[in-house]
């Protein structure tokens, strides 16, 4: 980790541009999957994986430094936050006299969207989402930096 030059990965223009175009839509898709997951296909796990795929693209384009530049938070902070959120939601009902993981339903009028139903299970799902994103970031952190010198030149082709 120490004493390594900031990435000297040769950037391929086409990959670079494609990632720039795709990254944010992919992230949005992941959020959509997360929030729609209770009623449509999706959920925190899939959402997290899609966000992870976006991170992977970023990595392919710019190496670990680009991935690190995505967030101020360290990967393990995100991972831990996810775990914490999930367990707080799991434990919170106990304090209110319910059983562990009892789901609560909230309904509000939101100006544009109309009547919105949310359950506390969504928060649990957010925890799962954060955890999966943290997990992906941690894997890149663990295996992504310090590319072997001979492989910097012949950069691997982007995966499907």
């Amino acid at each position: 980790m120490t004493g390594r030059n900031p990435t000297k990965v040769a950037r391929l223009l086409i990959v670079d541009r494609s990632v720039r175009v795709l990254f944010h839509p992919l992230l949005l898709t992941s959020l959509y999957l997360l929030f729609a997951g209770h009623n449509q296909p999706g959920g925190g796990f899939v959402g997290g994986l899609v966000a992870g795929a976006a991170v992977a693209m970023q990595y392919v384009a710019g190496g670990i430094d680009d991935v690190r530049g995505l967030s101020r938070f360290r990967p393990w902070t995100i991972l831990g936050a996810g775990l914490l959120v999930a367990f707080v939601v799991a434990g919170a009902p106990v304090l209110l006299g319910d059983a562990v993981l009892e789901t609560a339903l909230f309904e509000q009028e939101v100006p544009v969207l109309g009547k919105v139903k949310t359950t506390s299970a969504l928060v649990f799902d957010i925890g799962v989402y954060l955890l999966v994103v943290g997990l992906v970031l941690m894997v890149f952190e663990a295996f992504g930096d310090e590319p072997a010198p001979e492989q910097i030149a012949t950069q691997e082709e982007p995966e499907p």
Partner: protein, 773 residues
């Protein structure tokens, strides 16, 4: 009640978090929960003394019948009085004992509060599993408190010794609890004791619980950790290792005895262990020169005494035990505080090194004499009342063992008298002191002595007028044993056998003390008896080497062997069962759509190519193809959720494979050994066929009804979601998900650690802290 426990937790963690910023003020804050507990107990006193229980229950997991059931009955009230009352005294004392510069003082104060809360949980719990949890929390806080000075290797080793021993006992006890709870059909303590189950399993369970009791309450042969625990600061020893925590075992024993004392082995076992502990602990106390160690072995001895009384299981003996619990809490905490004061003011607590003390120390001397007299059972102090009641209870009991028990108790009491004398003599009067060392040390400040006085005064008053405790001891006795009669404590019962036994014990004790120089060589020979500390070390080393060997065999580091073992277990074991039990029902129908065939062929082709190709990157890509093929199959079968997840996972895992691949050679190594290749192909084929058969047969042999319909029906009304897969993940089976994400997090941390471990700069050894022994 649960609010009290939460208060302890909040204040405890708060003070730990505040650290040493608060200085000694932290001790005042830490004392607040104990004061509140005393106030609460006073408010409940009326109800409890009327014989009613205060109960409270908070549901935890109703499906598993897990609930935080708390119950304040007479005996619990007595224990709460002990825990909170002595707690307040210890906190007051600590403020003088420690200085603002004591390292890690904030942590110590907070841990003491957390301990008080855990102990409160033990004595209030009515649910066996809650009791177990709090029991282990006391072990953990005790561990942290003994090792609070983390720079002291001896303290750390002693803390570990205590934790391992009480933890092992706790595990045995948990096993016993589960068996007992299953046999009784309930985990509520008072329900189990009202109608005790019986049978072989219950007998075994009770023995397991007794192991837990014996480790916690330092009974022979598990007493070794308690003297070691004296490495803790004296206020901690006074609180945990004499007055409260070590009585957790006795507390449980007291509950079990009325219900299970009729078991054939109970009395021989408990009474023998108790008497051996009482006599052997006392003899060890007699040859100590460190006053604190003397008290520690004295505590072991007294715990043996209590085990005998509560182990008898008769109402009278239980009553005597209750009185002894209170008396011991007062005098032992006070004596520990005296040792702490001597240590603090003179810098030593060794009989041979303590300097001569002048008349200004007389108040402390008087308090010590009162407390030591109570320990020895001298008339007109509180301990005498307990001892008289004990003798009377054993005399009134019938059984062939009463003679032996009486003999043991008298012997133990004589030894107690001898070491009580040795304590006072050693602390204040020993001749041959180095008087030349200038002026006598300055006496302790009154505020330092005040907590000792606060504990010694009840010892004195209750010795003269023990009747004040009649009501409390009566309800305590009744809550343990419904057959108990009203108690009338008195100092003078007339010239009866019990009084004679008391006097005999006291006289023998004085004789023992007078003959100390002649007995010293005899006592010293006791050092040659192998003690449990050595046994512990041998066991610990044996366990370490054993673990190393087992690891060497089981975790031999060969990935192919790991994979083969896992695959064969997963795929091979079910197939064996399948082949034996399930007949072949023919091919299932409905699998013949054109789309299936095409996708399946792609998957098969990719899988076969991945197996034979030599370039790693190509194999990985083909593996990805099989994964995407699976996703396509899911789409064809109408499962978009699964397909979505499969695609995302496949994408990510391919990228991650490539990451790892960069560190590996370009091609797989050539395998030259033919037999090894045959073996691998064989395993692969076996696993493939096994999984295939499993999938084929499992579908046609449904035993239970499909849960799917039920879940689909309940998804919308109960969990407010239409995506059933998600509803299962985050609602119906959310506990599973919580477990899975925990595993994921652990795996991620492991992966990072693993990747970084290989990268440690040369010359930096991995952090390796062995067992301090």
């Amino acid at each position: 009640m649960i609010a009290l426990l939460v208060l302890h937790a909040l204040v405890g963690f708060g003070v730990v978090a505040a650290g040493s910023r608060l200085g000694r003020t932290g001790l005042l804050v830490a004392a607040v929960p104990s004061v509140v507990t005393l106030g609460w107990l006073a408010a409940q006193a009326g109800t409890v003394l009327d014989g009613d229980d205060v109960t409270e229950s908070t549901s935890w997991v109703p499906g598993l019948d897990l609930a935080v059931d708390l119950r304040l009955d007479g005996f619990s009230a007595l224990m709460v009085l002990l825990v909170a009352g002595i707690g307040v005294a210890v906190f007051a004392y600590s403020r003088r004992y420690f200085s603002d510069s004591t390292p890690a003082l904030g942590r110590l104060a907070g841990l003491l509060t957390l301990f008080a809360g855990s102990m409160l949980g033990v004595v209030l719990a009515d649910h066996l599993l809650v009791l177990y949890t709090c029991w282990e929390l006391t072990s953990i806080t005790s561990y942290l408190l003994i090792g609070n000075d983390h720079t002291n290797a001896k303290a750390r080793a002693a803390a570990l010794h205590a934790l391992l021993l009480t933890g092992a006992g706790g595990l045995a006890m948990l096993g016993g609890f589960v068996v007992l709870g299953q046999a009784a059909g309930t985990y509520r303590l008072h329900e189990i004791l009202d109608t005790p189950p019986s049978g072989t399993a219950v007998s075994v369970a009770v023995v397991l619980i007794l192991v837990g009791v014996a480790t916690k309450s330092a009974q022979y042969p598990f007493h070794g950790w308690l003297p070691g625990a004296m490495a803790a600061p004296t206020p901690v020893s006074a609180y945990l290792h004499s007055a409260t925590m070590v009585k957790a075992g006795i507390y449980l024993l007291a509950h079990l005895a009325p219900a299970f004392a009729t078991l054939g082995y109970w009395r021989p076992l408990v009474l023998t262990v108790g008497l051996v502990t009482m006599v052997a602990g006392g003899l060890r106390a007699l040859r100590q020169t460190d006053l604190k160690l003397l008290l520690a072995f004295g505590t072991v001895s007294q715990l043996g005494f209590m085990a005998v009384l509560f182990g008898l299981g008769t109402p009278d003996a239980t009553m005597a035990g209750c009185v002894l619990l209170l008396a011991h809490g007062c005098f032992k905490a006070a004596l520990f505080m005296v040792v702490g004061i001597l240590d603090h003011e003179t810098g030593t607590r060794d009989i041979h090194e303590l300097p001569a003390l002048d008349r200004r120390w007389r108040p402390l001397l008087a308090l010590s004499i009162v407390s030591a007299a109570s320990m020895a059972g001298v008339p007109l102090v509180f301990g005498f009342v307990a001892k008289e009641a004990a003798y009377q209870a054993v005399l009134d009991a019938d059984g062939i063992w009463t003679g032996a028990v009486i003999a043991g108790l008298v012997a133990g009491s004589a030894i107690t008298m001898a070491y009580s004398l040795r304590f006072v003599w050693g602390a204040f009067g020993a001749p041959g002191r180095r008087r030349a060392a200038g002026a006598a040390p300055a006496p302790p400040a009154p505020a330092f002595v005040a907590p000792v006085a606060a504990l010694a005064v009840p010892t004195m008053l209750l010795g003269v007028a023990p009747g004040a405790l009649d009501d409390l001891v009566t309800v305590a006795d009744r809550s343990l044993d419904a057959a108990a009669e009203a108690v009338h404590l008195a100092t003078w019962h007339g010239a009866n056998t019990a009084l004679g036994l008391s006097l005999l014990a006291l006289a023998s004790g004085v004789a023992l003390f007078a003959a100390r120089s002649r007995l010293a060589p005899l006592l010293a020979s006791g050092a040659r008896v192998p003690d449990s500390g050595q046994a512990y070390l041998v066991a610990l080393r044996g366990m370490n080497t054993g673990a190393t060997r087992v690891t060497g065999v089981v975790q031999n580091g060969s990935l192919p062997i790991y994979v083969a073992v896992i695959l064969l277990t997963v795929a091979g074991a079910p197939v064996l069962v399948l082949l034996r039990d399930l007949p072949w029902e023919g091919w299932p129908d409905g699998g013949g759509q054109a789309g299936h065939v095409v996708v399946s062929l792609v998957i098969l082709g990719a899988a076969l190519s991945a197996a034979v190709l030599r370039r790693r990157i190509a194999a990985i890509l083909l593996l990805g193809v099989t994964g995407y093929g699976m996703a396509a199959l899911f789409v064809v079968r109408g499962a978009p959720d699964l397909a979505l997840t499969q695609v995302a996972i496949e994408t990510l895992s391919t990228v991650m494979f490539v990451l790892v691949l960069r560190k590996l050679p370009d091609r797989f190594g050539r395998r030259s050994i033919l037999s090894l290749r045959v073996l691998r192909v064989g395993i692969a084929a076996l696993v493939g066929v096994g999984v295939f058969l499993l999938a084929l047969l499992a579908g046609s042999h449904r035993v239970d009804e499909r849960v799917a319909d039920d879940i689909i029906e309940r998804a919308e009304p109960e969990a407010h979601g239409r995506n059933v897969v998600n509803v299962i993940l985050v609602d119906f089976r959310a506990l599973d998900t919580a477990g899975e994400i925990t595993v994921l997090a652990a795996a991620a941390i492991g992966a990072v650690a693993l990747a970084r471990a290989g990268r440690r700069p040369p010359g930096v050894a991995p952090a390796d802290e062995g067992v301090d022994a």
